[in-house]
């Protein structure tokens, strides 16, 4: 109680410091006056009386210190004093402070931005879903390694057979045409199991969600749940939206509820707007057999562990269940096992790619920040040595070691936190910028990253860590200072500190590692872009149509495609036109289908699979893929020719041992096809991939509701074809939207988008880091040189040429720099050999980067060295 009152008094005294100080002075004066009067009465001379009184009172200053210690909170006062002092010091060096703060801010900002992404992928993978990171992917996996997805019937079986998982949720991504005739709009949604929303623990914004019984059997109430954004934009957030009808794929669905704000589905970063019961699939997808066919594996499954259950149990139960299914339904499930994966490890979607990329990026960026710290420490150390005298005076006046350390620390911490604050601002800006990054393409994508209190705490933590790191060397240096030496020695003698050079070397080494990593990243990205895809994307326009809403039969599908092609080919600007079901280099890859081919005997169990695309005649011409043997497919209206197939070179090599392929038959579930041609290998999933076996079938034999129109322009300006293509389709069918119109180059670019984010970051950060290293070297050398003015003056007087002096300074600094970069170079080499799987050492990068780095380093040394060598020797010698 008493202690508390004393504390409160002290807090008050912090503010009323001045009046208290006056009071004490007055009391002391009075005390001494009274004692002097007493002494005078005792017969002493006035001067002696006062002297005795002072002696008796004791040391006034020491007492005042005690008094102050008693009065206030010394710690806070010192801190405030230190901070004020730090502020003054920083104001005295605005240029240096700006360099330090900005470089720290960039380092911290970038790290914080990446952290917010990692945080999203790892901890908050589904916005609006609590504990989303605890969901596991339940993935059937073919023994060939592909994640096939699950069929609906399989899902129903698994629900009861994996008791370790609480609710398994199934969802399938679908594209809907929403709206009235002529004004249809393509919107993406999910067909979901009945427990979808309850298992995710969501509450509707308004209305209700899909009831479990609504996803029990086909033919129940046609209901749909819409996203919050969709509700806001299409229904202006009106509560009356519930109960309204929505025309989806020519079907009327009743809106029963609105999903909570920010919820965007279970396949982040894809953003869905509609959710309908899975049992609506046949009605919405034109009589699809998704619900009955075990080999149509269209659903992805997620589930959460039951309390107490372990992931191993779930994995074991899942494997057992899949093995049982493989025995029960060998036709559809043979060779398909299962894997439980973490949510961030999802095989579809970019999480897996993101997390490894981001982890590397974060590591590199932390190294960058460390380099910035090294830079700052170097600058601080250089400055600190010019402040030796100041510190020596402080020590001589009685400042303790700890006071000196705290003085240096508060200066640096102030800088660090200013940097962290600015860095957090950069992170907020960066995160928002990435969030709203325009995502052209077939899929609506939204990365739900944000800067929250964790991210900010991370930024501040980084700031504090940086501050401590770069405070340590100067603090230790100054605290060890002997005041005698500090005062005696002229500030012109360079301190015998190897630390500065070591730091400079380390920093250059780090810069080397990061620059090489950046260069390799850019190089691999550039080569991915420049590698010949082995088809000709230039001059090709892509556009999609979809007849699925109207349940066409095969004949009408074929007829539609034939008429569409006829019209398109008759346009004057079009060189060639074709339709295909799939486009290479797509985000989700090309489908792989099982088959047997005549003349191949399989020894192992399971089936052969190859990339499959169904195309019309003219496809190879549009794509610029030469047919090495045989002929193109028959025309669409040709009723005589038997079912045809064309395979690629790799198919022949892999499955037919390179023997003659023409005339052999491929057997699929949909029929038997004669191979009539061999096409050159081309790229299917990603540029730079190894050759994959592929087979093409004819649209004529296997017509589909959906098609990607491929148009090759004559004029070279493929975008000009858009309106003509639209007009043609409108002419044929006014109710059908032409969607996802893009040039082939755009199509490729957009699928490189994810790769491009880190590449872009590196493209910005590489030069930035080079700049930082240069600034660091420049600053350190110029400080060192400035401190040796006298020595240089003496040399010049004794006849040294300025050239020699420049050379000597550069040589001294380059030693550390060369050693550092050599170590960094070796490190980068080791990393690149470990990480880069394909290709050898990239010589241009490993030779070019050091050349550039050393060149810049030399320049950074040369500028201050030259300036120093040009001084007037007399002036230099007069210099104190």
């Amino acid at each position: 109680m008493r202690a508390l009152r004393r504390f409160l008094h002290r807090v008050v005294n912090l503010v009323t410091k001045r009046t208290q100080e006056e009071r004490l002075r007055e009391e002391i004066d009075e005390h001494i006056a009274l004692q002097t009067a007493e002494n005078l009465r005792a017969g002493l001379s006035p001067i002696e009386a006062r002297r005795q009184a002072m002696l008796k009172f004791g040391g006034v200053e020491a007492m005042k210190q005690d008094y102050r210690a008693e009065r206030g909170l010394v710690f806070i006062e010192n801190l405030v004093g230190d901070l004020r002092n730090a502020g003054r010091t920083i104001r005295r060096m605005p240029g240096l402070a700006a360099v330090i703060i900005v470089s720290l801010a960039i380092g911290i900002g970038v790290n914080t931005t990446i952290f917010s992404w990692i945080q999203m992928v790892l901890f908050e993978p589904m916005p609006a879903v609590r504990g989303a990171a605890n969901f596991l992917m339940v993935e059937p996996r073919a023994e060939t390694g592909g994640y096939s997805g699950a069929s609906w019937l399989e899902y129903r079986d698994l629900q009861s057979q994996v008791p370790a998982l609480r609710d398994i949720v199934a969802s399938q991504m679908v594209a809907f045409n929403v709206g009235e005739t002529g004004r249809t709009e393509r919107t993406h949604g999910q067909l979901v199991s009945g427990n979808y929303f309850s298992a995710l623990g969501l509450k509707p914004a308004i209305g209700r969600f899909i009831r479990p019984e609504e996803a029990e059997r086909p033919g129940t109430e046609p209901v749909v749940v819409i996203s919050y954004d969709y509700w806001q934009t299409r229904f202006r957030g009106a509560p009356g939206a519930v109960g309204q009808k929505l025309r989806v794929n020519e079907r009327e669905l009743i809106v029963v509820g609105v999903a909570p704000k920010d919820f965007q589905g279970t396949m982040v970063p894809l953003k869905f707007e509609l959710w309908a019961p899975a049992t609506m699939a046949p009605a919405l997808l034109g009589g699809t057999r998704d619900l009955e066919d075990r080999s149509t594996r269209a659903f992805s499954l997620i589930g959460m562990l039951r309390p107490g259950a372990t992931r191993e149990e779930a994995q074991a139960e899942f494997s057992t269940a899949m093995a049982q299914l493989a025995r029960d339904y060998p036709e559809a499930s043979a060779g398909i096992g299962g894997e439980i994966l973490s949510f961030w490890d999802a095989p579809r979607g970019p999480q897996r790619f993101l997390i490894s990329g981001l982890a590397i990026l974060q590591g590199v960026m932390l190294l960058l920040l460390l380099a910035v710290c090294g830079n700052t420490a170097n600058l601080m150390l250089a400055r600190g040595s010019t402040r030796q005298r100041e510190m020596a005076v402080r020590v001589a006046l009685g400042a303790g070691r700890w006071r000196i350390v705290s003085l240096v620390l508060s200066e640096n911490m102030l800088l660090a936190f200013l940097g962290a604050g600015l860095g957090a601002t950069i992170a907020v800006w960066g995160t928002t910028a990435l969030r709203v990054a325009p995502m052209i393409g077939a899929f609506p994508i939204l990365f739900p990253t944000r800067v929250d209190e964790f991210t900010l705490a991370f930024a501040m933590l980084l700031g504090a860590a940086c501050g401590l790191i770069f405070s340590a060397p100067p603090a230790v240096h100054l605290a060890r200072l002997d005041p005698q030496d500090g005062l005696r020695s002229s500030s012109n003698t360079p301190p015998r500190s190897r630390a500065r050079k070591v730091l400079m070397g380390v920093e250059v080494g780090l810069a080397m590692v990061v620059l090489i990593a950046a260069a390799l990243f850019l190089e691999s990205f550039r080569s991915a872009r420049q590698t010949d895809p082995r088809f000709r994307p230039e001059g090709v326009l892509l556009a999609a149509y979809d007849l699925s809403g109207r349940n066409p039969d095969e004949a009408s599908e074929r007829e539609f495609a034939a008429r569409l092609l006829e019209r398109l080919r008759s346009l004057p600007d079009i060189d060639s036109a074709a339709i295909a079901t799939n486009v290479p280099v797509d985000l989700h890859g090309m489908p792989r289908r099982s088959f047997t081919v005549q003349g191949r005997v399989r020894t192992e169990a399971g089936q052969d699979r190859a990339i499959t695309n169904t195309v019309t005649s003219g496809y190879f011409k549009v794509m610029g893929i030469p047919l090495l043997e045989g002929n193109d497919f028959a025309e669409m209206r040709d009723k005589t020719a038997p079912a045809q197939a064309i395979v690629n070179e790799e198919f022949v090599r892999h499955y037919l041992n390179g023997e003659d392929a023409i005339g052999r038959r491929i057997q699929r579930r949909s029929g038997s096809f004669a191979i009539i041609g061999v096409a050159r290998n081309s790229v299917y999933d990603a540029v730079g991939e190894l050759a994959q076996p592929a087979m093409y079938f004819s649209y004529r034999d296997l017509p589909e509701e959906q098609g990607e129109i491929h148009l090759r322009t004559r004029s070279g300006n493929e975008t000009a074809l858009t309106s003509e293509a639209r007009a043609v389709l409108r002419d044929l069918d006014p109710m059908l939207p032409l969607y996802d119109v893009r040039t082939f180059s755009q199509h490729i670019e957009r699928n490189l988008y994810l790769r491009r984010i880190p590449a872009r970051m590196f493209a910005v950060l590489g030069p930035l880091l080079l700049g930082l290293a240069a600034i660091g070297i420049y600053a350190v050398v110029s400080y060192a040189v400035a401190r040796r003015t006298k020595e240089i003056g003496v040399r010049l007087t004794f006849g040294a040429t300025s050239g020699r002096i420049v050379l000597q300074i550069i040589r001294e600094s380059l030693g550390a720099i060369t050693l550092g970069s050599a170590i960094g170079w070796v490190l980068a080499l080791v990393i690149s050999v470990r990480v880069m799987t394909k290709g050898g050492v990239n010589l241009p990068v490993f030779l070019g980067v050091p050349a550039i780095l050393l060149g810049v380093a030399t320049l950074a040394c040369w500028i201050p060295a030259r300036r120093a060598s040009r001084i007037d020797p007399m002036a230099a010698l007069r210099h104190e």
Binding site: R6, E26, E30, H31, L34, G59, M63, D66, R71
Partner: protein, 115 residues
């Protein structure tokens, strides 16, 4: 070293309280004189050490202070005991006597007195 000052401060505080109890309101010099008269050496050299103690007691609420006129008609700070200070003095006097009695008994005790 530090402990010694603590002990000194503790006893000094008690002396200040007792002085104010006996003499009524006093300025710093008066208190110092009084303690010097009674305790001899304790404050002979470092009268200044009194002031941090006075401040501590004031911040704890044991004493209060106000400006007044000194013997030679100058402004001086007068300290007086508060009610709380009086309670504190009583309590500490009791404590002190107890402690002193115990210590005294220890010093008096001889080996053969123990059972």
């Amino acid at each position: 070293m530090k402990q010694k000052t603590d002990v000194l401060q503790g006893t000094l505080a008690l002396m200040v309280l007792k002085t104010l109890d006996v003499l009524g309101p006093q300025h710093g010099y008066g208190i110092a004189r009084r303690i010097e008269q009674i305790s001899g050496d304790l404050l002979a050299v470092n009268q200044g050490t009194l002031y941090p103690v006075l401040l501590k007691l004031e911040q704890e609420g044991a004493i209060a202070s106000e400006w007044g006129a000194s013997e030679n008609n100058r402004r001086a700070r007068f300290y007086r005991l508060t009610r709380e200070g009086r309670k504190q003095l009583q309590a500490e006097t009791k404590d002190w006597e107890q402690t002193a009695a115990i210590i005294a008994r220890f010093f008096d005790a001889k080996a053969e007195d123990l059972p």
